[in-house]
Symmetry: C2
Subunit: 142 residues, 2 copies
């Protein structure tokens, strides 16, 4: 999602949420991320700018972003949770060695979802598609 402060402020106001510097900082960071960060990653990053920020604030802002439909919490059975601002239909390719995650979009994925959706009476509320595969970096390492 292409995002900036102005858009975020409008979104918050339209939902009746207050605009705070911490929120803007966390949201900007998460929405621009491509590495599927954990709460801890988000926390340690935002801490650079807001020295006294608390983990609770990070978790609450994550919940806010989920509620607004701007990010998804990935369905991994690993802890901690990881978050993704990509709301297109895609497959998460997860490397079991280094836990890196990359999004994969293709015709095949798109079509599958449409076909499945029609098989399931078109009332799917959400989806999560994961595939495990050693990433390039790890397969080179050997």
């Amino acid at each position: 999602m292409d995002i900036n402060d102005e858009k975020l402020i409008k979104l918050f106001h339209s939902r009746g949420f207050k605009v705070t510097p911490q929120r803007l900082g966390i949201c900007n960071y998460v929405l621009k991320s491509t590495d599927h960060p954990s709460a801890e990653k988000i926390y340690s990053n935002i801490k650079k700018k807001y020295k006294t920020i608390s983990r609770a604030t990070v978790y609450k802002t994550i919940a806010l972003l989920k509620e607004m439909g701007l990010i998804s919490e990935l369905n991994l059975n690993t802890t901690p949770s990881r978050y993704d601002p990509n709301q297109n239909i895609h497959v998460n390719i997860i490397c079991p060695k280094c836990n890196s995650i990359s999004d994969y979009e293709s015709e095949v994925v798109e079509e599958f979802f449409l076909n499945l959706k029609s098989e399931l009476d078109n009332d799917i509320l959400g989806q999560n598609l994961d595939v495990y595969k050693i990433c390039e970096t790890c397969s080179k390492k050997k």
Copy 2:
């Protein structure tokens, strides 16, 4: 998976694992389950037969079953974890209201996986496909 004590005993022996009544009990229960039980569900069930069984034993046996490739831990961001003995390619249809899970297999799912696999150089190590949809029971309740 069609399972019985005889098969399980062979499996354990072939892997060098000891055969214990607790193990047989837990494995039988999980492998025959269709409701994607949690560790706690497994524990409370097996407790009926083995009064002094410990959760640690349940968790260790679950790990054993995963290691043997007989069950999968579902990728849900909800806690506790849920387990599935169905090792066919399938979609987990999850009801966000009651957290029930049902397996869905079809041509569409099968073909998608084969196509995706070939797109990803055929070296997929595992997969997890989830879809959220209100179950029949919950949609009736209203």
